[in-house]
Amino acid sequence: NAGVTQTPKFRILKIGQSMTLQCTQDMNHNYMYWYRQDPGMGLKLIYYSVGAGITDKGEVPNGYNVSRSTTEDFPLRLELAAPSQTSVYFCASRSAPSVYEQYFGPGTRLTVT
């Protein structure tokens, strides 16, 4: 099993550009999450999904969009990149309501200049 994979590992964007951060899991997990990690701030939830076709906002959703067309994939879209979106982004998944452990991907380091 590859677990949770994320692409790209690194990306530099100019202000106003758009991009999609890819996240795929091969564990057949229903629950998927996107977090951003800023130094000294812990993890902030951007969006989450409890199954294909179902998504909901987290704590910091502004400037982002998601979709969940399949169980495996949960891409995160940045439409108009801003310097405030410079961060490390982590995707995570979890299998079932009674299983609380989250499995994290290796992260995408994004810089917006």
């Binding site: 000294g40 701030m41 812990g42 939830l45 987290g58 995570a92 609380y100 452990e101 991907g105 290796p106």
Partner: protein, 113 residues
Amino acid sequence: AQSVTQLDSQVPVFEEAPVELRCNYSSSVSVYLFWYVQYPNQGLQLLLKYLSGSTLVESINGFEAEFNKSQTSFHLRKPSVHISDTAEYFCAVQPGGSYIPTFGRGTSLIVHP
């Protein structure tokens, strides 16, 4: 809503010394508690969890944490640290029945030779 406070942003310690990383939480409902570890340039991995039962939980690499309901704490301890324990440690809480954990800001454990 729940919140998590990790009282120390950085904990330097010498190899083979004991260490305690502190975590306090607030919540109006019962919660599940977690410690995750993040090694440099990697995603988070579950270290240990408390769901119910014995209030003392242990990991396979010598860490332990004790759930103290009266003090609303879940401190992480290790009697003798190794250089390889150098990492960022995150405490997280999740109300029973919720999809979403809340993470603390993290504690950087730095083990010196």
